[in-house]
Amino acid sequence: MSERDDRGETDSAPSHPLHGRPMAVLFDKVNFAYGSDAVLSEVSFHIHEGEFAALIGPNGSGKTTILRLLLGLATPSSGRIEVLGAPPHTALESLGYVPQNAAFDPAFPISVVEVVRMGRLRGGRGRYSPEDLRAADAALEQADVADLRDRPYSALSGGQRRRVLVARALAARPRLLVLDEPTANMDAESETRLFRALGELKGRATVLVVTHDTLFVSDLTDAVLCVGDRDGRPGSVVRHASVPVARGLAPGTFGGGARQVLHDTEIPPEDCCGKGE
């Protein structure tokens, strides 16, 4: 584990449930710019293993950049990023990713199970093994899309496709599952089934949901990370508190209850770790 965790063991309040728990995601003073445009400035935040976190912020706030850095699809100009205790590109095998962009070529001939099987890919490794196929079938069950197994992917509705992509991410049996805007354009039925699947995963893997809805999050959420300009620094990330809201008050179903984000109540990083992240 990182030295930061060791520090956490000694400095944090022993009573905090996250005390000493290893980091799933760690951003330490990360900077990123497109040309001369700074997108992220000195961004520091962390997510503990097993947490269900929401990374929220308006469009253009830097969420996608954070996601791309986390997935190893981009490299920071400076700063340190660790995913499951390792640099992002070496942690990919333990990471499941559900992209927001459900755009696909409807003329691409492929079945649902073949899409899910892709989650078992590992670099240049050859054909899929029987174990890969078993994992794909288990992921289909887990994401509640087993009945669609042999259907052509192009014949599915938008919500069904999104849940198939969740199954694809789960097929890797990830320790960290990252979902980018999972409920965008999703019907209520699919949303309920999606959050039910995520609820079953909670505690067994770290889940990070990225969304532009800055007011409400699912009641599965343990940590709310808000991205936005703060004190002139673009792409700052802080933890905000959230409280449960009565059913029906939040738009969207979240498959159950929702929590309202309290943007005026910041949770300092030392609450769980003892040191500022």
């Binding site: 997935l71 190893g72 699809l73 990919l92 095998e93 990471l95 990713y97 992209p99 962009n101 696909f104 070529d105 003329a107 691409f108 001939p109 492929i110 079945s111 073949e114 899409v115 099987r117 892709m118 989650g119 890919l121 590992r122 670099g123 240049g124 490794r125 050859g126 054909r127 899929y128 899309v145 009945d147 669609l148 052509p152 014949a155 509705s157 069904q160 694809r168 890797a172 039925e189 699919s190």
Partner: protein, 291 residues
């Protein structure tokens, strides 16, 4: 003389060569054509195939002038194909906003360079043979090249099927699974470039791109996955090649053009049927199924 009698006539070996070339090229057209189609890089493949004329013209010129005696046209074609594939690949990855311009420039400049060299080549060189194919030009060496390339392409497609499938379906996701998608893309372009050079002896430069897209496009209507698309496109390509050859023999028409027209007619017919089927089944497809 009928096509069948011509095939069996010991005095007409080129007919048998043409048939073998048609069957061998079907494997390449089917497998590579499916990849080109699902990756939507037909325009890139078209630019590579047309730029090849520049290499053929240069080789003919250098050989006829005695500067490089005996330089075969295929050598020049290969150099131009690989160079244009490399250039297109780099531009496609690094400068997306200029991709169209560069691809079309390579397409047109490559052909023009070929025409200029052929015009200045002493003696007679017929650009039509290279543009539209000439079954009389297929040699035993061409057949060996096609056979070797077919084996290599099939072996590569089997070995790297998961990577090709994922990189074509969802490039970003494939990258998060550690697939070197840029390398996959450049390798596909390189294999297409070499194949175009070998295949142009059968249908010609202009029509290679048609055969890389039409059988695969037709197969895409019926196939359930990329593997099925590759197999079906290869079979369709074989039927179009053999059928086109027979038809061109019986009607005394250029074989390459007949093969392509036949493939195009079936593709258009299949597209029409597909549109009708989609239109009539749409209400059913949109019915809520409770999922």
């Amino acid at each position: 003389m009928s096509f069948l009698s011509a095939l069996l006539d010991p005095g007409l070996p080129f007919v048998r060569n043409a048939l073998l070339a048609g069957l061998l090229s079907s494997v390449l057209f089917g497998v590579l054509g499916s990849v080109v189609t699902v990756k939507r890089i037909a325009g890139l493949a078209g630019a590579i195939s047309h730029a090849v004329l520049g290499g053929i013209g240069l080789a003919l010129f250098l050989s006829a002038k005695g500067l490089v005696p005996g330089l075969p046209p295929i050598a020049g074609a290969l150099v131009f194909a690989v160079l244009s594939a490399g250039l297109i690949g780099v531009v496609s990855l690094k400068a997306k906003q200029r991709e169209d311009t560069v691809i079309n420039a390579i397409w047109a400049v490559g052909m023009s360079v070929g025409v200029l060299f052929i015009a200045k080549t002493p003696g007679y060189a017929d650009p039509m043979s290279y543009l539209f194919g000439n079954i009389l030009l297929i040699s035993g060496q061409d057949l060996v090249l096609m056979a070797v390339l077919s084996v290599l392409v099939v072996a590569g497609a089997v070995r790297f099927y998961p990577q090709i499938e994922a990189a074509s379906f969802d490039e970003e996701f494939a990258r998060t699974r550690g697939v070197p998608t840029n390398t996959v893309f450049l390798a596909i372009l390189a294999v297409v470039a070499v194949s175009v050079v070998v295949l142009q002896t059968f249908v010609g430069i202009v029509m290679v791109i048609a055969m890389l897209t039409l059988p695969a496009g037709t197969a895409g209507f019926a196939a359930r996955n990329l593997r099925g698309m590759m197999v079906l496109a290869s079979l369709l390509s074989a039927v179009f090649s053999v059928g086109g050859l027979a038809l061109s023999w019986e009607t005394d028409l250029p074989s390459g053009a007949v093969v392509v027209v036949l493939s195009g007619a079936v593709f258009l017919g299949a597209s029409g049927i597909r549109m009708l089927v989609t239109r009539t089944s749409r209400p059913k497809a949109e019915r809520p199924d409770g999922k």
